[in-house]
Every structure is written in C-alpha cells, then in structure tokens.
C-alpha cells in the first residue's frame, strides 16, 4: 500500500526541491513559499473553492489521458482538445441555438464540445493508423493550431462588438451559463460530470470489453496482433474518447467560468499539459486521478498566489510542474524496464 503512494510522496519532495531552486534565484525562503502555497490553496474556504474549481478540468483531461496512456498511445494533445471543446460550446451557445432553454442548451454544449475534442484527437489517430505517424508529435502540434484557432476566432469572426475592442466573444446567454455553488466559481454540473465519468472510466477499464482490449494493446501489442484484435479500431476509439473528455473540460471552462470565448491562455492555464502529470501520478487509476487533480488544482492556485504575494514570475509553477513530470516519467519508465527484464514484478 505504501509503495503505491510513494510517487506522490516523492513528488512532494520534488516540489520542495523546486522551491529551493527558486530560492537560490529569488532569495525567497522555500518555507515561506510552501506555506503560502498551502495556505492559499487549502487554508480558506475561498482557497479550497478555487482549488476545486481548477481541479475540474484536470480531472476531465487526466481521465481522458489515462485511457490513452493505458493503451500506450501517447496523446499529448489534451490542451488542444480542451480548446476545441470550448470552441464547440461557444458555437452552440452563440450561433446555433442561443435561444434554446437551459435544459437543452447546456447538454448540447457538452455533447458538441466532446465531439469537437474527439475530432481533434481523431486527427492524430488517423494519421497514426493510416500513415504510422507518431501521435506524440501530431497531437502536440495540434495544440498550437488549436491555440491559434481560438485566437483567430476572438480577434476575427467571433469578436464581440460589445466588448470595447477586447478579444472576447460575445457573452453567453444566461441559459448557456452553468450554475455555481453559492458565490464560488465551482461550476458543479461539470464537477459532478467528472466524478461520474471517473466511475464510468473505471468500469470501462476493468469491466468492459473495450477496457480489456485497451489493456492488452497497452501491455503487449504483439500479443494483441497475434490474437487478432482490431488494433486500429481500438486506437481510434481510445483517442476519440480521450479527446472527448478533454473537450468536456473546455466546455466547463467557458460555460462555467468565463461565459465567453477568450484568448487561449485565458481559458486554460496549461490544464492539458498538467493533466499529463496528473494522469501519471494517479497511476492511470481513475479514482486516484480525481484525488491528484485536487492536489494539482491546489498547486495552481498556490502558484497564482505566490506570484501575486511574493512577486514571483508566472512561470514558477510551470517550472515545478515540469520538474514533477520529468521525475514521474523517469520513475515509471524505469519501472517498465525493470518489469520486462525481471519478467514479472518481484514481490
């Protein structure tokens, strides 16, 4: 049991090491930094609510990525898939059915957002199965295209005439805005959706035929081929699902928080990338991913806080996130190697 959470514990150490590195550059004591991260993220109702708010997109993206990583398909494009989801939702809310009642409009936004995210992930999937192109590179490149696409829309065709020239789309009608808990920013329908999907994904992975196929392909693609599994179909399906979940996260952000489409960096502060770390630290386990999302939500909130209160640059938290990612990847890949040379985990 302890062994299981070792990575989480060690990541905490990595965070402290990172803070120490920042200390060397900035002279601000790591203790103070850590304290203000923890207090601002978890020390007040407001902090907790912000942490929870930020954990929602991490959960959805992380859950999606877990499906893809489980099948050893390296989707690095959650960021772009999230943005496409946001675009889809905006399109529905402002241009397709702005007058529809809430009960129809909101579900439609989620559905179309998921479809948009799914289609965005379908591109690397098809290029992979048809032309054997590496999905890491394709999905990563598509992130930049999605970012530019959002920016094009809000500076161009979708730019609102009512926003004094700001690069915003028009504000969503009330019926397209998600309800929140009291005066926090927790758009709880998305949160509930994420929690339900965590259960759902657990069932997919461990109880369903698709999950079985995912695990076979992820662990030994040769055996999958010899047993006649339809590998292409499964890769395509997994990437669509993975992108669809990220798309839902994008819908949640625009419908729950911003109520409009705005510059890409305003919609997502790198949720799609942070989710890669979340998925790995959560050991690709849906429930653990929910928990780790919460911790990372806190790290993001705390990062914002030390930026303001201690005057540190905005990249500080990205730096720490990067450290954790490298650490986690080294950890898990060295495990994979050990596993294959020892022909079975030693217990």
């Amino acid at each position: 049991m302890l062994e299981k959470y070792r990575n989480l514990g060690l990541s905490f150490l990595v965070v402290i090491l990172g803070l120490f590195g920042i200390y060397l550059v900035s002279g601000i004591s790591p203790y103070i930094m850590l304290k203000s991260i923890i207090i601002s993220a978890f020390g007040s109702i407001y902090g907790l609510s912000e942490t929870l708010t930020k954990s929602i997109p991490l959960m959805l993206c992380g859950l999606g990525l877990s499906l893809s990583f489980r099948s050893s398909i390296w989707n690095i494009g959650a960021e772009g898939q999230l943005l496409m989801g946001a675009i889809g939702a905006t399109w529905i809310a402002l241009y397709v059915m702005p007058n529809a009642p809430k009960l129809i409009l909101i579900p439609m936004m989620f559905i179309v957002g998921a479809i948009c995210g799914g289609i965005w992930a379908l591109i690397p999937a098809i290029l992979k199965v048809k032309f054997n192109l590496n999905e890491i590179i394709v999905s990563l490149m598509l992130n930049y295209i999605a970012i530019e696409f959002v920016n094009y829309l809000i500076y161009g065709p979708w730019k609102s005439p009512y926003e004094w020239g700001f690069p915003y789309s028009t504000k969503f009608p009330i019926s397209a805005q998600l309800p929140r808990i009291l005066d926090t920013r927790i758009h709880y329908p998305t949160l509930i959706l994420a929690l339900v999907l965590a259960i759902f994904i657990y069932i997919i992975l461990y109880k369903s035929k698709l999950g079985y196929e995912i695990r076979v392909i992820g662990d030994n693609i040769d055996a999958a081929r010899y047993a006649g599994l339809d590998i292409r179909k499964i890769i395509i399906l997994v990437l669509i699902l993975s992108g669809g979940l990220a798309g839902l996260a994008g819908v949640g952000e625009v419908a729950g928080i911003h109520h409009r489409l705005r510059v890409a960096s305003g919609i997502s502060s790198g949720y799609g990338y942070t989710a890669v770390i979340v998925a790995w630290l959560g050991r690709l386990n849906p429930f653990l991913i929910v928990f780790v999302s919460f911790l990372f939500g806190g790290l993001l909130v705390g990062g914002d806080a030390i930026q303001v209160s201690l005057g540190l640059p905005g990249a500080t938290i990205n730096f720490i996130n990067g450290l954790i990612l490298i650490f986690v990847l080294v950890q898990s890949f060295s495990k994979i190697r050990l596993y294959s040379t020892k022909k079975g985990a030693e217990r």
Binding site: Y226, D230, K343, R347
Partner: protein
C-alpha cells in the same frame, strides 16, 4: 572434488508461493550438472538468484568457499557467471553484434564492432550456429534468437555457465554441437549448469543431476546411477511411466482444410522468404514442417495466419479464399495459433492468468455481452483450465508473466486448443514443457487429429515431428524440399533435406 559453488538453504517466496524451499545446491569444478524438475519446480528461480536477478529471502551462496552476495547480474558477471536465459532478453531494435556487445567487458574502445563481429563469425563457424551478425533481433525467428543468446553467453569469459533450456528450438544437430562445446569447456575446468526437460540430453551430457520438485530439492545423483525412468519417477512420483511413441492411425480424410498455392511472401528486409510454396493439409492430418529456423518457416506461418502480407499465390481454408483478409478474419474461421515466442507473442504478462485465457474469445458469450465482461464466468472457466492442464499457479488472478516458462506455454496451449479449431498452427508446441506435460499435449494433439482437425506442426525437434506427423514437409531456403510420408521418413533423410542436400 573441488567445489566451485555452494548454495545453502536458499529460500525464495513470491507472495504466497514458495518457489525455492531451503534448497542446497553444489557445483563441482569442471562438471556438467543437470537441473531437473517439473514445470514450476523452481529451477529458473534458483538460477535467477545465482545470477543476481532475484535476491533470496534466506540462504547463502559460496563461491570458491567464500561467501558472496550477488545483488545484480553485474555482480554475477564479475564473479565469472554467465547465463543463457529461458525467455529471450535481447534488445529488439538492435543488431546481433550490438546485443552480444552489451554483455562484454574486454572490448577495445575503438571499433569494437569489427572485433565482436569477428568473434561471432569464428564462434558460429566453429560450432555450426548460422547467424547473420548484422541482422536486427526483431527480424530473427525464435530459433535464431536462441542461438544469439547462446553466442552471447559464450562470448563472455566465465567459470560458471548457466543454461536454462538452451535447446528448446535447436535442431538435433545444433544441440549436438552445443553439447560438444559444453564438453570441451568442461575439459578446460569450466562448470556448467544445464536446465532441460529432455531426459536424453541429460543422460548424454551431464555428470550429476539435481532434481527439484515443488520448490524442494529431492536429490542429487550421479548419472551413472540412474536411468530415464528413474529420473521421471523422481520428478513426478512412483506411478509416472515414460511412454514410447504414441500409436495412432496415419490415415486422414480426403477433404482439404488448408490449401496453399504458389505462395510467395517477403521477409522484413523485403526479400522473398517463402518462394512459390504449395501444399495441402487434410482433415485429420498432422503435417510436420521441419527445417532449420530462419529458412522461411516463420514467414510462412505469419502469412497463413494473416500476420504478413502475401505477395503472390493463395491460401484457402475449407475452400474459402482467405488470402490477405487479415488475422482476425482468419482466426475467426477456426484457426488456433501457438506462436513460437510465448512471452512476446503469446501472453500479456501484466494481465491476470484468467484474462489471458480468454484472449481468443473474450468478445463472445459466455465471457462477455455486447459491452461488459463477465468476470464470474471467466474466473470459473479459468479455474477449469488450470486444473485440466495442470497449470501451476497460486490462483487465476496472478499476472501471467509470473508463471514459469512451461506454465506459460501450457496457458497458451489451453487457450488455443479450447476454441474448437479446424486448423491448428503449432510452432514448437511443447517447448519448455516437462516430460509429463509433453506427453499430455501430444495425446491432446492426436485427439484433435482424430476429431478431424488439420494440424501444421512446426518444430526443429525432429523426434517430435517424427512422433506425431502423418507427412513431413522440409523447408530449406524458402522452398519446400519435398513432402515425405511418415512410413518412408527417417531422421537422416530429413536431416539432409534440412540443410539443402
């Protein structure tokens, strides 16, 4: 006798399994010591401990009388121990030379490549192990990989050689050459531990034999004091009898199950590996495919099972053209495939035994409905398979990768034979199986034959081919050099066809 190695009271547990239970094992200088025991007896585990892959829970190891701690293969190599592994530990995307180089210490700093290539060439010529030093590992057949493992171990100077089932995929003449080499080394004072399930081999080369059973050491005996029957009884208990060649009718039906016509298939380098091959297998017939590995057998089988594209010619199953329709389509027509490399092609190591058992029919009733798997039924089914095929495992939930080599093989056989196939493609079906399981599988294959299955049996073990086949096709250099009826076949004749004479 001078003791070079002493293992005392070695115990190793994996969860609730005791793989080694207070085992004492001594090795004399300049002896060939056989290690025998049924599948899952704990042989590989004991040797992995000696080679530093596992640390024992209890027990001590002495080399030349001094206590040593072997924490990693590096330590073992340092102590002069070298090992040929049961499952291949080669790096797929590297060449033969590079793989051999990985284990070597005393290579020159500049151009080690040339030096090693020469070493391999010398070795392979001297001992008749044909191998292309610059081939990439993934392009090699299992038999060729086994040769690489052997070359790799012997290019390293060592005082103790461990060979874990080195001959499962060698032809009889290659095995003879290997044993000649072992005897030579023995003469130079080198000590050898040989794990094998072939009792003939044990009787031929070993000086002493240690028998393990259920993780315990049963006895250590001089070869001169035992015979094959006695060894079998020591391993499996008093009522174990070694059977001679199974009696079976060599009649088969007229109707053709597999029809291969003018088949041409390319290998991974894009060169023709199978050239204009034609043959039929009939209902109730076992066709043996003999040949030195690397002569196109692998590509032929991959073409028949839809894993490799057919460039010319046709394949029909039960009169239906299945050329290039893909693996799933072919397997779904009732084709069982026992692949040559069990670890890489046959199982998903991290998934449980029960999940591996249903790999061929997980998508059907009763194991699943349109969406979900029914783990209750799957687990009942797996339990049945475990007892029917005597798979030794703690339970059906353990990861398949933790089973012993022979038990993984049984798992694959069980899975493939229980889909009620019309055609069975079996590559080295009994590789790594102990004598009793081998007999059981032979009986099972013959029963399938009687039930009307057509069987393509690929093996380099000529004895197995002779024992089971109705007709024997010999493959050399991508072509079939002749198909011989069993009553007119003998080992010499086939052996010479195999080398192209």
């Amino acid at each position: 006798m001078e003791k070079i190695l002493q293992m005392k009271g070695i115990t190793k547990r994996f969860g609730n399994i005791i793989a080694n239970d207070k085992i004492d094992f001594g090795l004399n200088k300049g002896e060939i010591h056989g290690l025998l025991g049924e599948n899952g007896a704990g042989k590989t585990t004991l040797m992995n401990i000696l080679y530093g892959l596992y640390t024992p829970d209890e027990g001590e190891i002495y080399i030349d009388g001094t206590r040593v701690k072997i924490r990693s293969p590096n330590d073992a190599i340092e102590l002069g121990i070298s090992m040929v592994h049961q499952s291949f530990k080669l790096i797929q995307s590297h060449t033969v030379v590079e793989n051999v180089a990985l284990g070597l210490r005393d290579t020159s700093f500049f151009y080690p490549h040339k030096q090693i290539e020469k070493k391999i060439k010398v070795f392979s010529e001297r001992y008749n192990f044909r191998i292309d030093p610059n081939a990439l590992i993934w392009q090699l057949s299992a038999g060729e990989k086994q040769r690489v493992e052997i070359i790799k171990a012997f290019c390293r100077k060592a005082r103790i050689f461990i060979l874990d089932e080195p001959t499962t995929m060698l032809t009889p003449s290659e095995a003879k050459d290997l044993f000649r080499l072992l005897k030579l080394l023995k003469g130079e004072g080198i000590s050898i531990i040989l794990i094998t399930h072939k009792l003939d081999e044990v009787m031929e080369v070993c000086d002493r034999i240690t028998i393990l059973s259920g993780g315990k050491r049963i006895d250590t005996v001089d070869v001169s004091n035992v015979d094959k029957d006695k060894l079998a009884r020591m391993m499996f208990g008093q009522n174990m009898v070694l059977k001679e060649r199974q009696e079976y009718s060599i009649n088969f039906y007229e109707d053709v199950v597999l029809e291969v016509r003018n088949l041409t298939v390319l290998n991974d380098k894009g060169l023709p590996a199978v050239k204009d091959v034609s043959f039929d297998i009939h209902r109730g017939e076992i066709l043996g495919l003999a040949g030195v590995s690397g002569n196109g057998q692998r590509e032929l089988i991959e073409a028949i099972t839809g894993l490799r594209k057919v460039t010319r010619g046709s394949i029909k199953i039960l009169d239906e053209d299945v050329t290039n329709i893909g693996t799933k389509g072919i397997l779904n027509r009732g084709v069982a495939h026992i692949p040559e490399e069990r670890m890489r092609m046959g199982i998903v190591p991290s998934m449980s035994l029960e999940e591996n058992v249903i790999l061929r029919n997980y998508d059907r009733a009763p194991f699943s409905n349109s969406l979900l798997l029914d783990y209750g039924i799957i687990s009942e089914y797996a339990k049945g398979i475990i007892s029917k095929y005597r798979i030794s495992a703690l339970n059906e939930k353990v990861p398949a990768g933790t089973l012993s080599g022979g038990n993984i093989q049984k798992l694959i056989l069980a899975r493939e034979l229980s889909i009620s196939p019309v055609l069975i493609i079996a590559s080295h079906p009994t590789q790594g199986l102990d004598v009793r399981s081998t007999q059981q599988i032979h009986e099972l294959l013959l029963k399938k034959k009687e039930e009307g299955c057509a069987i393509l049996l690929v093996s380099e073990d000529l004895q197995e081919i002779m024992d089971l086949s109705d007709r024997i096709a010999v493959m050399f250099n991508g072509t079939i050099r002749g198909i011989i009826d069993i009553d007119r076949a003998n080992i010499e004749k086939i052996g010479s066809l195999m080398v192209g004479v």
